[in-house]
Every structure is written in C-alpha cells, then in structure tokens.
Symmetry: C2
Subunit: 410 residues, 2 copies
C-alpha cells in the first residue's frame, strides 16, 4: 500500500510568500481602487540589461539553425559560462577553482534545497533565526527535523542561531554539535553581513567539528563595504568545509530566467567508515547528472553576457539603482524614528516594528492603512518577531512614495 512522506505533515501550513500573496489578493478584492506598493518579495523590477538581451537574441538564432542548434547540454553547464564564473567571480578575488568544481543550475533556491540529497538524514542542521524558509522546509520534508513546537515556534532537533539586534546580527557558534550549517551573507532577510574575521570563526568551527557550511552568497553583488567577503573561499581553509551557492537572480535580474551555480570544492572531503575520506564533489555531480538535465542554452548564453564588459557596467547600474532605493528607505525610516538595519550591503531593509505590535499585525496595518506590502519578520523564524523586511527592488517612484506614506503618522 502506497505511503506518503509523512514528514510533509510537519510543515507549517503555508509557504510564507504564498500567505502574503493571499492576503494581498483578499485586500485587493475588497479595495480595488487602492494603489498597493509591493516591497515584499525580493523580486527585481528592472528589465534585463542590453548585453544580455543581445546575447539571448543571438542564442535564439543559433537554436533556429541546424548547424548551430544545441540539444542536451553538459549536465553541469557549458564551459563558456563556467570559465567566466571562475575568472570573474573567483580568480579576480584570488580564489582558484577548477572547472569541475562549478555546477551551473536553475537557481540557488533549487540547489540549496536539493543539496541535502547528498547528506545522511541523520545529520543535525543549524540555521540562523530568522532564516530564508527554503533551508528549513527542505530539511523538514526530507526528515532531518523533529516536530514543530507550537510554544517555541521552532522545530525539534534543529539548532536555531539567533541573528538579532542584541548580538549585532552575528550568530554565535553553536554549543551543541551540529553537522550542516546554513549561512547566508549578505543575509536574507536582515540585510546584515559578516566580516572576514567573523566568517573565519565559522570555518574554524566547521573544521574542528567536522561540519559542512552551506554558504548562500546570492546577494554578494550588493556589497559596498570593503571588509565584507564576497565569497566564503576568501577565508583560508573554507574549501575544505564549505559549499557556496550563487545566483544570477539578484546580480543580473534573472529571477524570471532561472540560473545560478553551486561550488563544491574537491578539497571538501568527508570521513566515512574505516577512517577513509570521500570527496562530496562527486556526490553532487552524480546527484545532478541523475536528477537534473542542465540549464537552457539560451539562458546560459544570457548568463555569459553578464560577464562581458558592457554587461558588467549595465548590471552595476541596476544594482546602484536598487541600492539608492535602499538608502532612501533606510534614511527616510530613520528620520521618522524607526530603528533600521541592512540596506548597505544588501537590498533588504530590516526594521524594528513599533512597540506593541507583532510582525503580522504590522503587516496588516501597513497593508490596510498605507497600502504597502512588506514581509513580516516572524515569517522567517521566531527571532524575526518584532522585525519587518522591506526590499529595495521597487521603482524609484514607488520607493519614494512608500517612504512618504511610511513616515506619515500611523
């Protein structure tokens, strides 16, 4: 008799962003005349840059001609893209990676969710709190957590590492043994960062405890400060303990295009029985060649164009545009008396909700009174309660209008 995966029953009912969409849809139905400004989901709004558009048109033409048509591509991505990644994203920062350490994929969301396929169910995970929900939910589904505790609002058998005002948003090293550590910096949702020294402590901890760090640097392109590492491999020893996830989604506006990549260094070896060590690069290679079939050729040509001189200039203009929005939101809110974090090395503004309100109450109030959609901090974990996330991905006009509405007496 067929049996379902009972771990699914442990999941909280709604995926955060689905719940927000529903609330907005309900509100719009009753108030069709209100002009809602959406600063909730971290989705870009600027169109693809001209260099990318040009590359895509060319690639489409190649697909139209028998002589240049591309069928199945290499499982892990075309060399033309992998070489650019190695050269521009890593070598330029003094990091040497080999071609077979890079795996091009349809995005960091899939990869951060699928990566745990290669690890035993018995591993204990550690996540920051608040956290990007995918890390937790994918582990709930695969059975790596206990049940949800209504009282603590946490799952049993998961280590939650607070990322809050009181510790300057720098998580403390876990006291109990953990095996898989998720770190996302610049952080989603708080918009805060770690210095290289902070990150070094994590790499050392992972080495000492035989743990693996899953490092999501999807927002690295938004870093403006000098002492903030773009890649975990800037830290010595990291290639022995860390897998890094990157995405073109925020870097180049590819949220609707689906392309990212994952770095699994060959130096990352795990002890198996009898003291032998095994490289997990080959585990991921096997997982991907079995359960994934590569990324669209047209999309990979688009990603390659991101690295051209023109492409780099153009995407930086867009990033600067978003970061100017971040500045406007941050300074506007500070002027109005809010306590605000993030927004300097990330497109996220993490604000403290006015006293007496929960994150969801603030969400409702903002939607109803200001017609602004943000994301309640508690949706990212119990320590997100009392915080609220706004994104800098709106248009300048909407951003200014939102700040105007937000700074008016509520």
């Amino acid at each position: 008799m067929i049996k379902v995966n009972n771990n699914f029953s442990k999941l909280q009912k709604n995926y955060l962003f689905a719940e927000i969409s529903q609330k907005v849809a309900d509100f719009t139905k009753i108030n069709p005349d209100k002009k809602i400004i959406k600063l909730g989901i971290g989705d870009v709004t600027k169109p693809l840059v001209p260099a990318v558009i040009e590359a895509m048109h060319k690639a489409v033409e190649e697909m139209a001609d028998e002589k240049t048509f591309k069928g199945y591509g290499p499982d892990y991505g075309y060399d033309f893209l992998i070489n650019k990644i190695i050269e521009c994203d890593y070598k330029s920062r003094g990091i040497d990676l080999k071609k077979d350490e890079i795996f091009v994929s349809d995005g960091a969301k899939s990869d951060t969710a699928n990566i745990t396929d290669i690890f035993s169910i018995d591993n204990k995970i550690a996540i920051t709190d608040p956290v990007y929900p995918v890390y937790l939910d994918s582990n709930i589904m695969s059975g790596r957590t206990g049940e949800y505790n209504e009282f603590t609002k946490k799952y049993e058998n998961v280590t939650y590492m607070k990322v809050i005002e009181e510790n300057s948003f720098v998580p403390e090293l876990p006291k109990e043994g953990v095996d898989i550590i998720y770190l996302c910096f610049p952080n989603n949702p708080t918009g805060t960062t770690l210095t290289k020294d902070d990150l070094k402590k994590w790499v050392d901890y992972a080495k000492q405890n035989n743990a693996v760090i899953l490092y999501d640097s999807a927002y690295e392109a938004y870093i403006t400060e000098e002492n903030v590492p773009h890649s975990i491999y800037e830290v010595e020893g990291a290639r022995e303990v860390a897998i890094e996830f990157r995405s073109f989604s925020k870097t180049a506006g590819f949220t609707g295009m689906r392309c990212g990549y994952t770095v699994v260094p060959k130096d990352l070896k795990i002890a198996i029985g009898s003291g032998e060590k095994i490289g997990i690069n080959e585990f991921w290679a096997r997982r991907q060649s079995t359960k994934f079939n590569g990324v669209s050729y047209v999309t990979q040509k688009a990603a390659e164009a991101v690295y051209s001189l023109e492409g780099q200039k153009q995407i930086k203009e867009n990033i600067n545009y978003y970061m100017e929005n971040a500045r406007i939101i941050k300074q506007g809110l500070e002027k109005a008396g809010y306590t605000v974090y993030g927004g300097i090395n990330a497109p996220y503004i993490w604000l403290k909700v006015p006293k007496g309100l929960s994150s969801w109450e603030f969400f409702d109030k903002l939607l109803e009174e200001k017609n602004i959609v943000g994301t309640p901090g508690s949706g990212f974990g119990p320590s997100g309660e009392g915080y609220f996330r706004l994104t800098a991905f709106g248009s300048r006009e909407n951003t200014i209008e939102a700040v105007k509405r937000l700074t008016q007496e509520m």
Copy 2:
C-alpha cells in the same frame, strides 16, 4: 560529525550515457580521422521550429522592457501555457483537467526523479526491465532499494518487470505487492507500446493494490497507430491512481531548452492513518514551491508557441522526419536479417544483438568496425542484455549511411 548519504554508495559506478561518452571520446582520440555516427543518446538534431523561434524573440524583447519584464513567475507555470496544455493535450482527447492539476517544470527527467520526495522511503518500487535509468537511480539515492546484487544484476527490494521478446514487451502484473509502479510508454528504450486494454489492467491493478502509477509519456507525440493511448487518463479510473509526466524535449526538440510538465490529478488520494485519505496534488505543489522556482518565462513562451497552428504543423514535420528515419533503420536492419522492435510509435529501434555477443561487445564492435554509436541494452537493466538501442534522431544522411554500414557484413 557530518555523514554522507550512504545510499549513493549503492549506485553502479557510471551513469550509462556518461560511460558511453567516455568510450566514444577514447576511441576518437586514437582514431581522429574516423567519421562517427551517433545514434546513441536520444537527443534531437533538428533546430527549433520557426513558430517557437519567433515566440522566443518576442519574449526576449518583453524581458528588455520595464513595462513587460517578468521576474519570478508562478511556481507551477504561467496560465497561458497551462491552458494550452489542458486544451490541446488533454481536452482534445476527452480528458478534463483543472489548472491546478498541471505543474510546468524544467523537464520530465527532473520530475520523474524528484516525484518520490512526496512518498515514504518505505514504499516498494516496480520498474520495467529494461528501464530508463533515472527511475531506478533516483530511488537508489533516496534509499528505496536494497544493495546491488552482482549475480542477478538487480537491486534488492525492487520489482523488475521484464519487457522482452518473449512477452511481446508487455510487462506482467507483479505477483508481490508493490507501491510505486513506473511505466513509460511508448517505451524507452524498447520503442514498444501498450494498448488501452493493456493499460487498463495496470490501472485496475493499482486500484486493487493501493499503488500509484508514475506514467512517463514523453514519447506520445511519436505514436502513429490508432489503438495506442497517448495519455494514461484515456483509461477510466486512471486519475485516481496515476501521475503523468510529459516533456517538450522530444515533442518539440526542447532537449536544450528544458521544459516539461507533470499532471497530478486531485482525485489521486492516498490513505493515511485512521482511514483518512489525503490528496497528493497538494504534496507535489508544496514540494515544487519549496524546492523549485518555476521555468524561464522565455522558455514557457516558447512552449506555448508549440501549440499554435503553425507550431503544431512545424513540429509534426520534424516528428515525421525522425519517424521516416526510424522506418529506414527498421526496414534496413530487417532486410539484413536483424530482429528489430520499436520504431513505429517511438523514435527508438530495439534490435536483437547477433548471437554470441553481449550488448557491450556489440557496442564495441559497432564503434570500432562501423564507427556507429548506439546504446547497449544491458545498460537499461539485465533483461536488456542481448538487445541494442538505436535512435531515429540523426540526420537523414547519417541514418542512411549508418544503415548502409550496418547491413554490410560484420
């Protein structure tokens, strides 16, 4: 201490097609002057049709303009595509499906591999033998099989259902209880089909045994005979027991584009404790919204164009071209005395290897003496031993040349 997923160690060393690629690369290195004809991997060679190319250029232009740019799309696909799927692939055959029963994805390979996320590890799987390797390998990885038995060349705790000459390539219903049944018809690798009556027996069996059928109909566009079902939902009661996978890869030459879809009917309900039944449509919906982020907008517009009048006409021309290749291979080989199956409702020709040779020996002989690459039947399972797969996806010229070489004395 981090632990790897030990199930990976149960996998046979090489993914079939990787092994073939390696052999071909080695041969080419030593014999750079030989003109190799590849009829191995089932990859298309005709370029994308004009209707698709036009739609892609338009979609790229939309991505260039702020007013029409698309960021994150709906997790399960855009309505414009889902509506076409429902209308053209199902309604036209008398099958009614609702919008939320269709899940657009990056291909049938990913979906057939990922679908088991929603089922318990404790289920017993049944696969045909020979079989498309992904069904088996994805279950080995997730721990749903025992160890590999060198002697039987089978995995423990898996039901292998022979699809061989002796049973006219119609698998027998399993005698032991099985929970998850993989069926792929028109079949890869044998190219053979089931009639509607054959398929009815499976639907009835699944109902009686509370099993789920995972039905891969990636090759339905190649069906030329009347009594061969294109969808399992043509069989009464199938929506209560079957999930169907479709792909644009072979239908429209999308192997390098990555688009397919999966149908999970709401009527497919599974008993959980206390006699309650639960719809697994919502399990897959949750799986996809958590671990997948939709398909590129440009690719979905391309897929939509497949359903236009022009698109339908153009893809049928390509399919006819490939099926004419199939006819040439089939008739040529028969004339030369080979026993040949498939090639009538599928782009695959499944031939019996001359007596005294194993499938891999025939592979080597063909590569070395005829410079033709095919796929050894034993790579698809122990009952594939003694068979060999050729595909009809080559150019006409190469196909004719291959048949000429094959029919010369070996």
